[in-house]
C-alpha cells in the first residue's frame, strides 16, 4: 500500500526535516521511499513544501487528490495545498499562522487556524491539531516545533510507524544538542494533540 505525504510550511519551520524523518522511518522499515524538497531562494521566508512517497514508485511529486496525509507547520500553507488531499485524508496542523511580511500593517484578511480547521473538517478531512510552538518553547528551542508535529503524525495513525520507529528515525536524522529537545517535543506532540472532524 502506498502512502503519500505532503509537508508544507514557511522557510525556517523545519519542513524538510519532517520529510527526512518520515523517509528515514520508511527506509528503516524496508519500504521504498522517495522524497522531494525545495532549496535555495524558496527558503527565504517563502513557502517550503516537500513530498514523501512511500511504496508508491519513484514519482517525487503528489498529484491533486493523491495525498493521504498533509502536514502543515502553518495554517495558511495547509489551506493553500488542501487540494492535494484525497477524500477522507488527514491534516496534521501546527496551530500557527505566519502573516506574509508584505501583509504586515495592512488590513487584508489572512486565514486563521480555526478557519483552516473548519475548511478541512467541512470537506470531510480529519484534522489533528498540535500547539507545536508552545511545546517547542517548553522543550527549550523553537526549532524543535517540527518534532512535535512528528509526534502528532504518529498519533494520527495514518502511517504505519510507531513512536519507537519515529524516535529512532529522528535520532538518525538529527544531530547535536537539539536531539534531546527534538525527542522531548516528539513525545509531547504525540500526547498533546487533538483530533477534529465533523
Amino acid at each position: 500500500m502506498a502512502f503519500r505525504i505532503q509537508i508544507v510550511g514557511v522557510g525556517g519551520h523545519g519542513v524538510i526535516l519532517v520529510a527526512r524523518v518520515l523517509s528515514q522511518c520508511a527506509a528503516d522499515a524496508g519500504m521504498h521511499c522517495v522524497m522531494s524538497e525545495v532549496h535555495g531562494m524558496s527558503q527565504r521566508g517563502g513557502i517550503v513544501h516537500s513530498s514523501v512517497v512511500i511504496d508508491g514508485g519513484d514519482a517525487p511529486l503528489i498529484g491533486t487528490g493523491q495525498a493521504d496525509l498533509l502536514v502543515a507547520s502553518e495554517a495558511g500553507e495547509a489551506l493553500r495545498q488542501g487540494g492535494l488531499l484525497k477524500a477522507g485524508g488527514t491534516l496534521v496542523l501546527n496551530e500557527l499562522t505566519v502573516l506574509p511580511p508584505h501583509m504586515v500593517g495592512t488590513d487584508d484578511a489572512y486565514p486563521s487556524v480555526d478557519e483552516v480547521t473548519r475548511w478541512f473538517t467541512e470537506h470531510g478531512f480529519r484534522v489533528w491539531r498540535v500547539q507545536g510552538s508552545r511545546i517547542a518553547e517548553d522543550a527549550g528551542s523553537i526549532r524543535v516545533m517540527n518534532s512535535a508535529m512528528l509526534g502528532t503524525i504518529v498519533k494520527s495513525g495514518v502511517l504505519p510507524f510507531d513512536m519507537k520507529q519515529m524516535t529512532e528515525a529522528l535520532i538518525t536524522v538529527t544531530r547535536g544538542r537539539l536531539r534531546e529537545k527534538n525527542i522531548a517535543a516528539l513525545h509531547r506532540g504525540f500526547e498533546e494533540c487533538r483530533m477534529e472532524a465533523l
Partner: protein, 1120 residues
C-alpha cells in the same frame, strides 16, 4: 558525510546530488570543481565535505570562481589523466559555454562528467533554459537520470564510457531530480586510471588551431555515432512492451510520473513505454522500431520538444505513418515544470481511463508568500542606507539573495540579467541616461563575473556607484566560501577596485550608519566609478556552516515610547493615517543627525512647536508632510484641528516658531507659518471635516469672527446645528474688517470661511444683539448660546477725545480710502500690530508716518517682523514717548509727549514706563491715529441679560467650562477675557465648542484637557550643529499681499517649502510612526494590536530597527 565513503553492501537515503558524488567516488574521480548554484549546489558541497574529511585519498575539490573556471580546471585534470567532474546550474553552463564547446573537440584523457542542473519552473533561477540543446550544440553525449539510484549508477557507467569514447559526458539534471531523495545502494569503488597525474604533450590534438580544429570536428562526430549505439541499450534505454498500439517515450523526471500514473490506474499493459536515460545522441533505430510497433506515441519531456522533434524527424525520414502527441499537439506545455496532473491529462489522450483530479476538492486562494530577506540580513541595512542618500536611482542588481531587494519596502531592483550584469549593464545605463545608477553585486558574484565588468566600467568611464554586498559567503546557494573569504587566500575587494582605478572606494559596515551614509554620499557625488564594499557577515552563514553565531542581544519595542505622542492621551493626537513618506522624513532626520553627531533632544514627548500652540496643532506633523512633498497630507492635518488655516498662515503670531528647538541650537526656527501657507496653497481641499451624526441640538453663535467661526466648525462636526448671528454685513470679524489686504489677502481668508459655512452653518448677517434681538430671545430658541462678540469699543486716550485730527486707528483701517493722506504727516500712537498696520497702511497712502510708543522697541507687542517691515518702508519711530496732551492748532495736531524711561517691571514682565522729569517734547502732525487697543462692548448688548462682566467690561467666564454666569450661555474670544490674538480666539472658539458639546450631550460643560496648556519639557543641551538659516521668508515684506514672493513660480515655492521643511529636526515623538516596519521590512517585526512588535524568536539582534526608530523606542537587551 562519513557514509559516502562506505564500502558496500550499504544503502542509505540520499539526495540525487549526493548520489552523484557517491557515483563519482565509486568511479574513481580524483578532482571535482563547481561554482555553486541551485539546484546543483549540494554536489559541490558534498564533494567539499568529502575533500575536507580526507576520507578519500588523493581527492581534490575546488570551489571555482565561476563555471568557466570549473570546466577549465576539470580540463586540466582530465588532460593529466584524472577522472574529473564539474557541476553547475544550467545558466552556469552559459558562462562556461566557451570552454564546454571546445572541450568536446579536445576530448578527455581521464573520464569527465559535466553536470548541468536545469531549473524548469524557475524555482531559483532567472530563466528555464533547456540545456539538452547544449549537448546537441557541442556534440556531447548526454545522460539524464530519473532517480537518485539511477543517477549514481549512470555516473559510474559514464566514466569508462567517457574514456572509451574519449569525450566528456554531460549529465543533465532538473531541480526535481537533483532535489529528490531516495534509497541508494552503494557499489564497489572502481580502480582509478593508472596514468593519472601525467600530462602527455599532444599539441596536434590539444591546441585547437584552426587546422587542428577542422580535423577534430569530424572525429567528434564519429565518437558520437558510437555513443548512439550504446544509448540504445540498458541502462541508457529501457523498454516496457504494451498490449495496444499506443506508446509513451519519456525522459528525466517525467519517466517517474508516467510510471506512477500507469501504476495508479493499474493500466500498465495498455501503453508501451520507452524510457530514455541517454538522450544525446538519441538511438534512432530503437526509436524507429518503437514507432513501428506503436504508431500513436506521446512524448513526455519537460521544456523544449527536444526528443519530440527528433522523433518526428525519425518518423518522417522513415516514412512512418505515426501520430506523435506532445508539445506540437499542445498536449503538453513547453514551459514550466511538469506535475502528475499535467502528465496524467496528456496520457488520458492515449488512455481514456485516466481521469484527472475528479475526486479532489479545490482549495481556496491564500495570499501569496514571496521569499524575503531574512531577519538581520545585512543587505537590509545596506539598502536602507543607500536609499536614504539616493532615494531615486536606477537600481541595477545581480544574482543573489539581494535580488529580494525588489520587494517592499526597498524596491531596489530595476534591472537583473545574469551574473555580473549589474556592473556592465548598470555602467552602460549610467551613461545612456541622466538618472544616477547604483549597481548591487554580492561578493561571490563579484569574483564570478564582476571583476571584468568593473574593469569595463572604469575603462569606458562609466558613472556608476557599485555597491558590493559583501556578506563573506555565497549565501543563497548554501554558504560556500569564495575568494573574498574562507578559501586558501583572501582577496581584498576594495584593493582590487583601487588598483583598477575606481574614483572613490570605501569598505564600510552598513550598520555603522554615519560612515555608511557618508560613504554613499561621497560616492554619489564623485564622478566616475565608485565602489563601496558594504561588509557585514550573513546572519545565517554562521549557524549553517557551524561557525559561532550565538545571538547575545536582541531588541524589543518599549511600548510607552513606540507610537507615542504627547497629544495622544489628551485627545490631541492628529489621527492622521500612517504615511510612509512622512516616516521617511523622520527616519532621514534621525539617521543624518547621527551623522553630524547631533545629540538631539530625541523623542521629546511633545514637540515644543506643538506644545506652544494654543490649539496644540502638530507643526512637526505638517512640516513633516511638507518635507515629504505631501502637501495634501499637510493640509489635512492642519485643517482637522485648525478651522481657519489661511488666517493663521498669514497673521498668526506663531508661538510655534518662537518655541522651535532650532532656536536653542543657534539656528533660525523653521518657518512654520510659511510652511502652513504652502500646505494650504498646494494642498487645500474642502470637506476635510464632515458634519457629525445630527444630535438635534441647536446652538446660536453670536459673532462671526475667528472665535465664532471656529466654534461653528467644531460644533457642526460634533453634529449640532449652528446659527451664526453677525452684526456686520460679512463674516470674518475684526481681521476681515481691519487687517490690511497686504497682510491678509481676503481671497484666502474667505476660502477658510466658505469651507466652514459649507459644512452647513446657518448664517444671519446684519443681525446685532441688543439691536435686532436679545440674549433672552436666543435662549428661548436654542439649546445653547455662545457669545463671541469681540472687542469693538476703542479704548479712550486721555486728552485726545474730541480733538479734531485725532482719529481711531480701527476706524481708519476699516475704511482707509475715506482719508487722503498723500504728502501728509501722520502720527501713530501705540506699539501693537494694529499700530503697525495703521502706520504701514498710511505710509502706503503717501503719508510721512511716525510711530510713538511709550516703551522701547524690545517691549513692543507687535510682531518684530512687522516692526522691521514698517521701518523698512520708511516709517520712523519715537520710542519711550507717551502722549500727555493733544491740541489742534491751525489744522495741525500738536501733541505733547513725556519722555519715558523703564523702571522695574509690570505685571506682564515688561519694563514699567515712567516719565523722565523735564523730558517732555512737542510734535506737530496733520493727523494723529491712536492704536492703543479696544475694549469689550458687552455692557451695552447684554444689558439685563444676567451675564456677569468683569471690571474691564469683558464677559466673565469659568475657564474650565467656558460658561458665563448664565447656564447654557457660553462665551469666548476677545470679548470674554480673550488674549487678543487670532490663534487664541480660535482656541477659545474650539474650547467653547467642546464644552458646549459636552453640555448638550451630558448636561455638564467641561473644557477637555486638550485645550489646556501643555507643560513643555526641555531637557537638552544645545549640541554641535551646523546652523543653516532659513531657506524661506528671509524678508517678510517680499511675502506680503501675495502667496509667495514676486519672481517665484509655484514650483519655486513648492521646492523651497520642501527644503525649508527639511530643516525641521523632528524632535518630538510621533504616534503615526511605523518606521521599523516601513524602513526595514524585517519579517521579525509584526503589527500587533497596540503597534509594532518584535518577534523574539525571529530577532537576531542586528539593530537596524533601533537605528531607524525616530521615537527611540527600540531597546536592546541581553539574552543568555
Amino acid at each position: 558525510m562519513k557514509d559516502l565513503a562506505k564500502q558496500p553492501p550499504f544503502s542509505t537515503l540520499l539526495l540525487t546530488n549526493q548520489a552523484i558524488v557517491r557515483g563519482a567516488l565509486e568511479a574513481g574521480v580524483t578532482f571535482a570543481a563547481t561554482y555553486p548554484g541551485t539546484p546543483a549546489s549540494e554536489i559541490g558541497d558534498t564533494f567539499y565535505r568529502v575533500f575536507r574529511s580526507g576520507e578519500i585519498p588523493e581527492f581534490r575539490f575546488e570551489y571555482a570562481v565561476n563555471e568557466k573556471a570549473a570546466i577549465e580546471t576539470v580540463i586540466g585534470f582530465s588532460q593529466a589523466g584524472h577522472r574529473a567532474m564539474a557541476s553547475m546550474k544550467h545558466v552556469g553552463l552559459n558562462v562556461a559555454a566557451d570552454a564546454f564547446m571546445t572541450f568536446a573537440y579536445l576530448g578527455v584523457k581521464g573520464g569527465t562528467v559535466i553536470v548541468s542542473a536545469d531549473d524548469p519552473g524557475c524555482h531559483s533561477s532567472q530563466n528555464e533554459q533547456d540545456n539538452r540543446l547544449f549537448a546537441k550544440l557541442a556534440y556531447m553525449p548526454m545522460i539524464e537520470p530519473a532517480t537518485p539510484q539511477e543517477a549514481k549508477d549512470l555516473v559510474v557507467a559514464a566514466y569508462p564510457l567517457s574514456e572509451d569514447l574519449a569525450v566528456p559526458i554531460l549529465l543533465r539534471l532538473t531541480t526535481r531530480i537533483a532535489h529528490m531523495r531516495g534509497i541508494v545502494d552503494f557499489g564497489p569503488f572502481k580502480s582509478r586510471p593508472e596514468n593519472r597525474g601525467v600530462f602527455v604533450k599532444d599539441p596536434y590534438n590539444l591546441v585547437v588551431l584552426p587546422a587542428n580544429a577542422r580535423r577534430l570536428h569530424p572525429k567528434l562526430l564519429k565518437k558520437l555515432a558510437r555513443a548512439e549505439a550504446i544509448f540504445g541499450k540498458a541502462p541508457f534505454a529501457r523498454f516496457t512492451p504494451g498490449e495496444g498500439k499506443v506508446g509513451i517515450i519519456a525522459t528525466g523526471v517525467s519517466r517517474n510520473y508516467v510510471k506512477n500514473i500507469l501504476q495508479e490506474y493499474n493500466i500498465g499493459a495498455q501503453a508501451a513505454l520507452l524510457e530514455m536515460a541517454g538522450t544525446n545522441p538519441l538511438p534512432k533505430t530503437v526509436i524507429a522500431d518503437f514507432l513501428a510497433k506503436y504508431p500513436k506515441v506521446l512524448i513526455v519531456e519537460e521544456l523544449q520538444p527536444f526528443v519530440e522533434d527528433q522523433v518526428l524527424a525519425i518518423a518522417g525520414g522513415k516514412g512512418l505513418g505515426v501520430e506523435v502527441l506532445g508539445k506540437h499537439t499542445d498536449d503538453l506545455p513547453e514551459v514550466g515544470e511538469f506535475d502528475i496532473d499535467t502528465v496524467a491529462r496528456a496520457m488520458s489522450r492515449l488512455i481514456p481511463d485516466i481521469k484527472v483530479g475528479s475526486e479532489s476538492v479545490q482549495a481556496p486562494d491564500v495570499p501569496i508568500r514571496p521569499p524575503v530577506l531574512c531577519p538581520g540580513c545585512p543587505h537590509r541595512a545596506t539598502y536602507a542606507m543607500v536609499k536614504e542618500v539616493i532615494p531615486d536611482a536606477i537600481w541595477s542588481t545581480d544574482i543573489g539573495c539581494y535580488t529580494l531587494g525588489i520587494n517592499k519596502p526597498f524596491e531596489m531592483a530595476d534591472l537583473l540579467v545574469c551574473m555580473g550584469a549589474s556592473v556592465t549593464a548598470g555602467g552602460a545605463l549610467s551613461v545612456a541616461q541622466q538618472k544616477p545608477v547604483v549597481a548591487f553585486i554580492g561578493d561571490s558574484t563579484f569574483f564570478h563575473m564582476g571583476l571584468s565588468g568593473l574593469a569595463n566600467a572604469i575603462f569606458n568611464r562609466h558613472n556608476l556607484l557599485l555597491v558590493v554586498l559583501d556578506n563573506t559567503t555565497t549565501a543563497m546557494t548554501g554558504f560556500q566560501p569564495n575568494p573574498g573569504w574562507g578559501g586558501q587566500a583572501t582577496i581584498d575587494i576594495e584593493k582590487i577596485a583601487q588598483a583598477m582605478g575606481a574614483a572613490f572606494t570605501a569598505t564600510v559596515d552598513p550598520y555603522d550608519t554615519p560612515r555608511m551614509l557618508n560613504a554613499v554620499k561621497q560616492a554619489a557625488s564623485t564622478p566616475g566609478v565608485s565602489v563601496i564594499v558594504s561588509k557585514s557577515p550573513c546572519v545565517q552563514a554562521g549557524e549553517k556552516s557551524g561557525f559561532t553565531a550565538r545571538i547575545t542581544t536582541k531588541y524589543r519595542i518599549e511600548r510607552s515610547k513606540c507610537q507615542h505622542c504627547g497629544n495622544l492621551d489628551a485627545g490631541r493626537h492628529c489621527r492622521m493615517p500612517i504615511q510612509r513618506d512622512y516616516t521617511s522624513v523622520r527616519v532621514n532626520k534621525r539617521l543624518w543627525s547621527m551623522d553630524v553627531k547631533v545629540d538631539m533632544p530625541k523623542a521629546l514627548e511633545n514637540p515644543p512647536c506643538t506644545a506652544a500652540c494654543p490649539i496644540n496643532l502638530c507643526a512637526q506633523g505638517y512640516v513633516g508632510y511638507v518635507a515629504a512633498g505631501d502637501f495634501e497630507g499637510a493640509f489635512e492635518l492642519v485643517r482637522k484641528r485648525l478651522p481657519l488655516p489661511s488666517l493663521c498662515a498669514y497673521v498668526c503670531h506663531h508661538p510655534c516658531e518662537d518655541a522651535c528647538t532650532l532656536n536653542a541650537m543657534g539656528d533660525d526656527p523653521v518657518a512654520i507659518r510659511m510652511l502652513k501657507r504652502a500646505a494650504i496653497h498646494f494642498g487645500r481641499r474642502g470637506g476635510v471635516l464632515k458634519p457629525g451624526e445630527p444630535t438635534g441640538k441647536r446652538v446660536a453663535v453670536v459673532g462671526g469672527g475667528p472665535a465664532g467661526l471656529s466654534a461653528a466648525s467644531d460644533l457642526i462636526e460634533a453634529g449640532h446645528g449652528v446659527t451664526i448671528f453677525e452684526a456686520s454685513d460679512r463674516l470674518g470679524g475684526i481681521p476681515e474688517q481691519v487687517i490690511p489686504e497686504f497682510r491678509l489677502p481676503r481671497e484666502e481668508y474667505e476660502k477658510d470661511i466658505r469651507d466652514i459655512v459649507d459644512m452647513g452653518v446657518d448664517v444671519k448677517l446684519n443681525r446685532a444683539m441688543g439691536r435686532d434681538f436679545s440674549l433672552q430671545d436666543l435662549q428661548k430658541q436654542y439649546d445653547a448660546v455662545l457669545l463671541c462678540i469681540g472687542r469693538t469699543e476703542p479704548r479712550r486716550l486721555a486728552g485726545a477725545e474730541g480733538v479734531e485730527g485725532v482719529v481711531d486707528a480701527m476706524a481708519f483701517l476699516r475704511d482707509p480710502d475715506a482719508l487722503d493722506l498723500k504728502g501728509r504727516s501722520v502720527g501713530v500712537i501705540g506699539g501693537g500690530n494694529t499700530a503697525m498696520d495703521t502706520a504701514r497702511q498710511a505710509r502706503r497712502m503717501g503719508a510721512e508716518v511716525m510711530v510713538f510708543y511709550r516703551r522701547d522697541q524690545a517691549s513692543m507687542p507687535a510682531l518684530p517682523e512687522e516692526v522691521h517691515a514698517a521701518m523698512q518702508e520708511g516709517v520712523t519711530f519715537e520710542f519711550l514717548a507717551s502722549p500727555r496732551s493733544f491740541e489742534n492748532r491751525n489744522g495741525q495736531v500738536e501733541v505733547v509727549f513725556d519722555r519715558m524711561e523703564l523702571k522695574g517691571t509690570d505685571a506682564d514682565g515688561r519694563g514699567r514706563p515712567v516719565p523722565v522729569q523735564g523730558g517732555d517734547f512737542v510734535r506737530s502732525m496733520d493727523m494723529c491715529m491712536k492704536a492703543i487697543g479696544e475694549r469689550s462692548g458687552a455692557a451695552a448688548v447684554l444689558q439685563g441679560s444676567g451675564v456677569t462682566l468683569d471690571k474691564g467690561g469683558s464677559i466673565q467666564i469659568d475657564p474650565d467650562t467656558m460658561m458665563t454666569s448664565v447656564d447654557g450661555v457660553f462665551a469666548g474670544g476677545d470679548g470674554a477675557m480673550g488674549q487678543g490674538t487670532v490663534i487664541h480666539a480660535v482656541r477659545d472658539g474650539k474650547a467653547a465648542a467642546a464644552a458646549i458639546d459636552a453640555f448638550l450631550k451630558t448636561g455638564k460643560a467641561v473644557v477637555p484637557d486638550q485645550y489646556k496648556p501643555v507643560k513643555q519639557e526641555k531637557t537638552f543641551k544645545p549640541p554641535r550643529f551646523k546652523a543653516q538659516g532659513r531657506l524661506i521668508e528671509q524678508d517678510p515684506i517680499e511675502w506680503e499681499g501675495r502667496i509667495f514672493p514676486e519672481g517665484w513660480t509655484r514650483e519655486t515655492f513648492k521646492q523651497k517649502a520642501v527644503e525649508e521643511a527639511g530643516r525641521c529636526i523632528q524632535c518630538g515623538t510621533c504616534a503615526n510612526c511605523t518606521a521599523c516596519i516601513d524602513k526595514t521590512g524585517c519579517p521579525a517585526i509584526i503589527m500587533g494590536p497596540q503597534g509594532p512588535e518584535i518577534l523574539e524568536d525571529q530577532c537576531v539582534g542586528c539593530g537596524l530597527c533601533a537605528l531607524v526608530c525616530p521615537n527611540d523606542a527600540i531597546i536592546k537587551y541581553k539574552v543568555e
